[in-house]
């Protein structure tokens, strides 16, 4: 497979997933589009343990996707986010549009970037606390996946939902993968699995010329050119860094313990 085809293959997969979720969201099929969200599996755990029932609109598919994707994260980091998440696709499209529009995109200082990433743990804690306490998916009104595919449906909170969604889209346009980096609670759940995952990008220092194109291509701002081994929890194994690398075999996908 030539280098450029990796990204095209990824976009093809994301488009199929997007089409499937749209198909469900338009009322076709026997399931709600929400069944595709693995975070629903996390939200359903308390209800299942305490009453043996799924909370609100959650169902078995949420839970089975969650389990399968946690195993996937143990093997190849946050590959779900880069290869099969519709919000990841939205974030990437917004970031690429932003890339064309900005002459020089403002960069979030590394320390602030690191601190802001803690927000997703706050979102995770809030989502679990309110869901477990009320049995309802109370954060639906602020969830871009739900708001977009339900068309601001049942559970959205009027103008607040519009403001939050528009804010997130602008955020994704300014800061690549804004929602995924700072706010996605599923990303927080994946974090510990992603850090120890088996498959990761590695850099051969003897072949690398240090041109920095790999780091420039990374929407997660991972400094690939400085690493021997990309262990970052935010890596989605999108392999854009491999696409961008001009040197043969300087960057490789490897399985390493």
């Amino acid at each position: 497979m030539s280098k450029m085809k990796t990204r095209y293959l990824r976009y093809a997969m994301l488009t199929i997933v997007l089409g499937l979720v749209l198909y469900l969201s338009l009322g076709f099929g026997s399931r709600s589009f929400e069944a595709y969200c693995p975070f629903g599996g996390v939200e359903s755990l308390w209800g299942l343990f305490t009453t043996g029932e799924f909370s609100c609109a959650l169902g078995p598919l949420n839970l089975s996707f969650l389990l399968a994707l946690l195993v996937l994260a143990l093997v190849c980091k946050k590959a779900f986010c880069g290869w099969a998440c519709p919000i990841g696709l939205l974030g990437e499209l917004a970031a690429r549009l932003g890339g064309w529009a900005w002459k020089k995109r403002p960069r979030v200082p590394p320390r602030l970037n690191h601190t802001l990433k803690l927000l997703r743990y706050v979102v995770l804690a809030a989502a679990l606390f309110f869901t477990y306490r009320t049995g309802e998916l109370v954060l639906r009104g602020y969830d871009p996946f739900y708001l977009i595919f339900s068309g601001f449906g049942h559970g959205s909170v009027g103008i607040f939902s519009v403001v939050v969604l528009v804010g997130m889209i602008i955020g994704m346009w300014v800061v690549p993968m804004f929602f995924c980096r700072y706010l996605c609670p599923m990303g927080a759940v994946f974090d510990p699995f992603s850090r120890i995952a088996l498959l990761r990008v590695t850099r051969d220092t003897s072949k690398c010329t240090g041109c920095g194109r790999c780091s420039g291509a990374c929407l997660q701002d991972i400094p690939v050119q400085k690493l021997g081994n990309v262990r970052y929890r935010d890596c989605t194994n999108c392999l854009d860094c491999l696409d961008a690398c001009p040197e043969k075999d300087a960057l490789q996908l490897r399985a390493e313990l």
């Binding site: 069944a35 909370s55 609100c56 609109a57 169902g59 078995p60 195993v71 093997v75 490897r254």
Partner: protein, 120 residues
Amino acid sequence: MRLPTFVIPVLVTLALTAGYGLRTSFTRPTTVRTFAEGTGVKATFIVDGVRCKGTAMFLSSLYEDIPGIFGIEIFAGERTAVFTYDPKVVTRDRIRAIMEAPIPFKDGTTSQVFKCMSFR
């Protein structure tokens, strides 16, 4: 060990397929209501409008006083309602008509809340 890049999409596809296949291991109804003792026969309806536990409870409440309905299991995630009923007393078309009937609201208006997409 070096791996080809197509390993990632293959693994993602496998995980999604496995997740879809595993769903039957976790299937549980959102709501179970039993109105009367009896074995009867079962009919499964795909119902647009069943979104959550609240709407599932509301749908089940429409059948509380209907003779011949023994019970109902609703799976909100699958938008599915499984009725146990006595076919000599109530028909599937009648069950469908009840769910699709306009619901009166407090402000005097009526609205169709549920729509049967298919049944078997």
